[in-house]
Symmetry: C2
Subunit: 461 residues, 2 copies
């Protein structure tokens, strides 16, 4: 599809069908809708961005797109890390940034939200009622709840509290033909018909466009205690992780390697041990004696695995500082160069092999690969640092990018634990799913989007 | 499809392709494969039951069925309550009762199970490693884990710990063409591709036949405290439910009405208050001071709502006796006549209206409708008692059966919270989903089972 395929008159139809300011066609203004945080260099040149203000606007845009066979790339806050919102030349970008209505019902403990709200805004609105929306991607202050639903986003608390899909009770979705349907709803248990709500969560805009979500909220998380431990080797740290997860279910269990520690310390100057090979941030949010027991188990596991230092704190500010350090890792490492950002996960017992294998790939390719991880659920983020101006290095980084995913697959792992396949990882998806599950997935894609206009190029070949 | 459509020679093909004893064709032996606990009087006469011992056997049977366009009705332990396993004339029953292998991995905290195992057996195997598989249908001692996956079964602990789909990480599924695929796997977070695992959970055998499931286990549930409260009116009891759920998240919150209390007391003779209009069994499994706080909140909520008596106990045996009383309610009420068993759910604030509305339907139709409920998540089981020999009463019971579902829908509820649509409720499904979501569901069904051989008559028209 190229710009020439849609005439100026046809594009004018779309502009005229929507209120002034909704459709952006000016190339300068369009530029910010071309890429997400994956910064795909192959991003296309869209015809227009539609900044929908309602489900109705989304329907108008999708109906227009279906009529003219134009690609529709849905976009939330543009913080995706897999190129799921990379613009397609000749397509439109369907931005939900203006869809920001929200209603919290404390009695049913649910929030009905539009997709353009930030995750942090949903959390804050829930907190105002003493409630909690748990899923917490590190980017929670800048990522949209619609993007979270589209990617089935995870985060730091998932090790105990689950991922986005565990909190989505209902959706409103605009289908590929422009019809809007409601799936699920404000019911805690509902098995009437196929689990379509769950199918749409994590489908990365390839099956429909989410225009509203009904989210389950739970009582506010109780205060937590935080344990920070540093290790002389990465092996010692991964041994501590397995010792902890085989004994208890921590409320958080995060990993940073030496490169990440130093990158964060460069920015935050908080006195992290630059000499440590790895650092763990673990939390218990059990209460009273149960918390004491869990903190003792975690501390003992770290010490027995060879931790050089452990620090336990009940002080919320002090604990939060270390969690903030962990969250700051991606932007901090980004200061050292461009990043190819991985999201591989493995069954927990394979985590030591994954960490070691990534070190080997980094050495073989003469690259820096910083490693941070939601260690408690085996989900890691190797950050491959490279200089885009250095062609050889760029090529090595790209090779390493694939090698890390191949490594995860040999360890019975996944190419993506929480970021989504998008465009950057789709070449590796058949290697994980196999031809039969790919074909099964494609059958569903074709049944729901026969014209193939919804986010073409994401997930599927 | 009638028996005549498949020749004796063709049926012999199936018998010969499988080991001796796997295929049952003797009509007397077949009889027990015709109905599940819904006891559908319209159950058909199957050609054969295939008691598969492996995924391979399931594939052989499904390939044969696809070749001859024969219906395949999957069946676990036959405890389904919606007629999801009602046999189809001229079809085969695919029983998984002999598929009972299991492997528990304490390090990854997962169980890999075959579908014929009972829920209780999975729980016991997990418990042997200090682990817990939470979903607990009241029938957990007699229902199969495969049936739990097929219906996305719930239970008593779901109010705090979620339902079956929350614990299914991976599946092996035999598709409608006989191919076996693996979906998901032993990874706590995995967003690679569409959420097919979640789509198959709860699909009631209409999209494929589950031959293996990888289940997430969690650490053993801590000891719990139990509160039992009796109420002079059902209004007082539902007010207490809302007061509890808007303050805390109990580990269990179960409701029994007067008919159920008396039916259970007739059987168990445990001294339940026969004069009470309703009884609640609530649990906290928080620890120490947190448990005390929750028990106080629940007790105060019951007293403030007008409870005539409350009893709190930390004694596991005493607490379990009341939970067992609640679990015994369906078989106890069944002694009073045949049952039409409902499974309607509503958003929590609508629960009082649902309970009141059911009382009105019972009065209008001059019927006994016993009510038990997983009250904490708004999921109720009205049990319509009738005498099948009484034609007029049977007709009134059937009318009430539909009226209860219609009532739930007017309250923004669901026709089924955890039992599934099966054959008994499918006439009401379009009323809940609407024509567009029905059509969307059918598109997926046709994409995955183009010949329509998988559990025809269940869920879909």
């Amino acid at each position: 599809m190229t710009v020439e395929d849609v005439t100026i008159a046809e594009l004018a139809e779309l502009v005229d069908a929507l209120p002034a300011g909704v459709v952006v066609t000016d190339p300068d203004q369009l530029d910010k809708y071309r890429r997400d945080r994956a910064a795909d260099p192959l991003a296309g040149q869209p015809l227009a961005a539609v900044r929908a203000e309602s489900t109705d606007h989304v329907q108008i845009a999708v109906r227009w797109a279906a009529r003219h066979r134009v690609a529709v790339v849905p976009r939330g806050a543009g913080t995706g890390l897999s190129g799921g919102s990379t613009a397609v030349t000749g397509g439109i970008v369907l931005s939900t940034e203006r869809m920001r209505a929200m209603r919290v019902d404390p009695l049913t403990r649910m929030a009905v939200v539009q997709p353009g709200l930030l995750n942090a805004e949903v959390k804050a609105a829930a907190a105002a009622h003493g409630l909690w929306y748990p899923p917490d991607p590190s980017s929670f202050e800048i990522c949209s709840i619609g993007g979270n639903v589209a990617t089935n986003a995870g985060g730091l608390c998932c090790v105990k509290y689950g991922v986005t899909t565990d909190y989505v009770l209902g959706l409103q979705v605009v289908l590929a033909d422009g019809r809007a349907v409601r799936l699920g709803g404000p019911r805690l248990k509902d098995v009437a018909g196929l689990s379509l709500t769950k199918l749409f969560v994590g489908s990365e805009g390839t099956l429909g466009i989410v225009t509203e979500a009904t989210l389950r909220l739970i009582p506010a998380q109780p205060p937590s205690s935080t344990l920070v431990a540093t290790f002389p080797t990465t092996e010692a740290a991964t041994a501590a992780i397995l010792a902890i997860t085989s004994a208890i279910r921590p409320a958080m269990l995060e990993y940073m390697d030496q490169t990440s520690i130093n990158a964060v310390e460069d920015v935050l100057h908080m006195g992290l041990d630059r000499g440590a090979a790895a650092l763990l941030v673990a939390r218990s949010d059990s209460q009273h004696l149960a918390a004491e027991r869990e903190m003792t188990i975690m501390n003992d596991a770290c010490v027995a695995s060879g931790a050089t230092e452990t620090l336990a704190t009940d002080d919320p500010g002090e604990g939060e500082a270390f969690v903030a350090a962990r969250r700051a890792a991606i932007p901090a490492v980004e200061r050292r160069g461009a990043l190819l950002l991985e999201d591989v996960g493995v069954p927990l017992p394979r985590l030591p092999q994954l960490v070691q294998g990534i070190e080997t790939i980094a050495a073989d390719r003469a690259l820096t690969i910083a490693l941070i991880a939601h260690a408690g659920d085996g989900n890691t983020h190797p950050l491959i640092v490279f200089d885009p101006a250095d062609e050889d290095m760029t090529r090595r980084a790209e090779l390493a990018f694939g090698e890390v995913m191949d490594l995860a697959l040999t360890l019975d792992g996944t190419i993506t634990g929480e970021h989504g396949v998008g465009r950057l990882k789709k070449a590796w998806l058949p290697g994980q799913l196999g031809p039969e599950v790919m074909e099964l997935s494609l059958r569903i894609k074709r049944a729901l989007d026969p014209l193939g206009i919804l986010n073409p190029g994401a997930i599927f070949p």
